[in-house]
Symmetry: C2
Subunit: 155 residues, 2 copies
């Protein structure tokens, strides 16, 4: 009888552990992961467009999933951009500024024409929602890769 | 010895259960809950402003937490609004349209001047991120409460 109780407790613990890790995974995936991007990013990154109606909203928005270590190229937006961090551990840097660490709940306001990059930290996937505001000002400008030296220069 | 093992397994299970339910709570709370609002909403609702820089982004954004059954008044935005559903179960309706159920991952594009309301379902809290786009077109217009009859008229 004692053995049966012991086994049932062990099995319950395993079931609980499994459901727990499923919850953690689900919590990281509010929006679809989307398609792997091939241009203007270093490492594996996926983008799911969420809204594309520039005419009505003068904005477009997207969910971006960065694998650990992956990041955008240096770029700027003539109409600005806002990032809403949803899960994982990220990095953000403006030209000539220090690298900032990002976590879920952080909101980054990137003013028009500010050259910057964003991406995952070196050890963990990172997900943010992003919105390109004042879209009618024009598309993003791209300035080439963030080198490994730049990426690892965490002061 | 067997008794000690049994106790340690029970305690481990309880610790696991506690950490598991904490994870579930945290996953619903990416952004701060903010302050309770008193105008233009029915029931208990909390708003945390996320961005307010209209000059640079021509937008403002906010996290809204609706207690079960709570909802906005009927209203419209001259520059449009986009809702990004983060957790729980919500409701959305445009004037003369059917009530839509909302869940995490849903994105609602509300075109300029469309009269509508949004809120929680009757049995569960609901959280969305919202952005008021083309803010320079002017502030929201409010048209009074969504009655219980309107709220419960789920076709």
């Amino acid at each position: 009888m004692k053995t049966i109780t012991l086994y049932s407790i062990i099995i319950s613990s395993l079931v609980l552990l499994t459901s727990c890790s499923q919850t953690e995974q689900t919590s990281n995936k509010i929006f679809e992961k989307g398609q792997k991007v091939t241009q203007n990013f270093t490492g594996e990154t996926w983008v799911q467009m969420l809204t594309v109606d520039g005419e009505n909203f003068d904005a477009m928005s997207y969910n971006v999933t960065f694998a650990a270590g992956s990041r955008t190229y240096w770029h700027s937006h003539p109409g600005g951009q806002i990032l809403y961090c949803l899960s994982g551990e990220g990095r953000y840097q403006e030209k000539d500024g220090a690298i900032r660490s990002l976590k879920a709940g952080d909101v980054i306001e990137i003013k028009p024409d500010v050259v910057h990059w964003h991406g995952a930290g070196p050890d963990m996937e990172f997900v943010h929602l992003g919105i390109s505001t004042r879209l009618s000002e024009g598309p993003a400008n791209w300035y080439g890769p963030v080198t490994d030296e730049e990426y690892n220069n965490q002061k």
